[in-house]
Every structure is written in C-alpha cells, then in structure tokens.
Amino acid sequence: MIYHAGKNVYMNVTFFSGLVFAGSIAAGFLGSLTGLGGGVVIIPMLTLAFGVDLRYAIGASLISVIATSSGAAAAYVRDGYSNVRIGMFLEIATCAGALAGAALALHVPTSAIAIVFGLMLLYAAVGSSEHPSAESRKDGEDARSLGARLRMNGGFPGGKYVVERVPLGFAIMVGAGALSGLLGIGSGAVKVLAMDRAMGLPFKVSTTTSNFMIGVTAAASAGVYLTRGYIDPGLAMPVMLGVLAGALLGSRFLMSAPASLLRNVFRIVLLVLSVEMLYNGSTKRI
C-alpha cells in the first residue's frame, strides 16, 4: 500500500496537507478516546500511507504530542489530579532517557527504528490489557521512605496516597523517555505503568501526571531533532492542527463512547500497523 507522494500519484502540497490533516484528526480522535495518544498512529500513517521519510514523521509527531499533552494538562492541572512534584522529579528521568533515545536515533538506520516501532505497536495491541489499578499497599506513611523524603505524597479529589518504590519508577521512566526520544511518541502507556504499577499511585493521578510529563519529555527529544532538520514546519502544521482538533473532539465524546468496543477496534488497527511496520522495516523499505 506504499505510494510515494509526488512519485506514483500526483499530489500537490495543498491536497497532501488536506489528506494529512484529515488523517491526523482521525488519529487524534482515536488516540484521545483510547488514551494511547496520537503518535502511535501518526507515524505509521505518514510513513506507510504517505511515503514520508521516518525522520520527518517523527519530527511532526513530536510537535503534535507536545500540543495534545499541553492542551490536556492545562485542564488536568486545574482539576487537581496531577502531582506537580512527582511529575517534575520523574521528568529528570524521562528527559535524560529522551536525550539518549534521540541521540541513538541519529545514528541508527531508519529501518531499525521502524522495527522497534513495530514491536512497540505489537505490545500496545496485544500486551496492554486493562488492569485494575494497583492499590496502595501501605496505609501508614513511613517518614523515612524516599517518597516521603522527596515530599511526593499527596492528595487528590478522592483521597490521599503514599508513593512507593521511587527508584523502580525512576528507572522505568528512563526507559519511557528513551522510547519517546527514539520513536517520536509520547509513550504515555509506559509512564502510567511506572506510576500506577511500580509507584502505587491512584490510576487517575498516574494518567494525568503522565500527560503532564509527556510535553516536557517530547520537548527534550524535539530539541535534539530541531537542529538536525527532523522537524519540517510544512508537515508539522497539518499534523499538529489535525491531532489537536481530533483530541478536542475525542474529549467531547469520551463519556458517551463505547470504550471497550473502541479499544478493540483500535487494537486491530495497531496490530495491522505493527505488521506493516515490521515488514517494511525488515525489508528496508522504510
């Protein structure tokens, strides 16, 4: 299904931008409804359907990731769910990881990145099932624990929580940042995993704090890519505006949408994209 814009099919910039804009609306819509973000669909869409070089796709995706994260975080921060201290502390890990991931991406062939991307999609499609969120295992607050010493414990509109296993969460965050920097995605799922599963935070606090962090992580990667020419404003424009519009639309439908059906449809989409990315990566077409 690969055709290169302007080669096999005649397309001018206006038509191309319109198609990318429409596709990005769909990606942003699905990404916000399923909570997986737009990046995981944007990059396969741009590379597989539009024949865009993976590097430009990564650059455009990162800009849209910053936009949706910042837009959503603005609302979440005011609701009082996200924990600014936990977010800031873990951003040390995600930014360091993102710098490493982006630096690695500059030296690795795009076909290898496509294969890693395919594996990530495969995991997102089949690996991530809905888990009940980990409940805080301890009721009492241990004043000597790292979480307490870092003043991370907090409250949210629904109760109090105690932060556990900070080093483990920190380590997973380095991985989340590296994945984000290498692939140009927000890697929100891994961030939620670190906070919800490893650090025992309430699910809602994990997802909103993750969202809060994604923008800063993506900015670290974007900084590396900006000076290397990965970010093309003409391509970033329809992608960012489309994903933003789609995410806005998605947040309106979030309450009424049949979540499990949507998630299953999205999973099949991810599976197909995963096979395509793995195939094209291993045959060096990307």
Binding site: G51, A73, M88, I92, A219, A222, G229, I231, P233
Partner: protein, 105 residues
C-alpha cells in the same frame, strides 16, 4: 505562592502556549499553502533542515510549541524558589538544564 496558585498559573500558561502555537500554525499554514500549495510535496527523501523561505510564521508556531513545556519548567523553578522549596527548585533546574542541553548539543 502556594501549590494551588502555581498549578492554576501553569494551567493557564500551557493553554496560552497551545493556543498561540495553533494560531501561528493556522495563519502560517494559510500563507504557506498560498505560496507553495501548488508545489510537489518533498518528504520521501530526508534532506536536512528546511529553509525559512515562506515558512517563517510556521516556524514561529513550531518554536512556540516546543518552548511551551520549557517555559513551564522554568516557571516551576521560580515558583518553587518562591515557596523556599529548595529541593524542587533544584529538581526543576536539573530538568531545565537537560532541556537546554537538548537544544544546544
């Protein structure tokens, strides 16, 4: 300055950044399509940094978008300092240093 007030300002800051970037993208996008809409898209082969010609406003949108989370971290650093929370002033400045490194390295 307390945490609640800081969060409210951070929320407003992020919102403003996204709106400003989206607005620049919209205006710049129209200008870009008027000037280059008839050209052939050239994304199949990687060709390094795109020159500024006819895309200045789009570049403003890109830079404002990348700057928004960075400004947020810088603001948090100042706010933590005003709260005399030196631990998190330090944490924020470390994050800020990593972000600065990403742009300069």
């Amino acid at each position: 300055m307390n945490d609640k007030k800081m969060e409210a300002i951070v929320g407003r800051l992020l919102q403003t950044g996204v709106l400003a970037a989206a607005f620049a993208m919209l205006v710049g996008g129209v200008q870009y399509l008027v000037l280059h809409g008839g050209a052939t898209p050239n994304y199949a082969k990687f060709h390094g940094v795109t020159p500024l010609t006819g895309q200045t406003i789009l570049w403003v949108g890109v830079v404002v978008m990348i700057a928004t989370p960075i400004v947020r971290v810088a603001f948090a650093m100042v706010a933590f300092a005003m709260e005399r929370d030196w631990l998190y002033t330090g944490v924020s400045s470390l994050v800020l240093a990593l972000l600065a490194y990403s742009l300069l390295a």
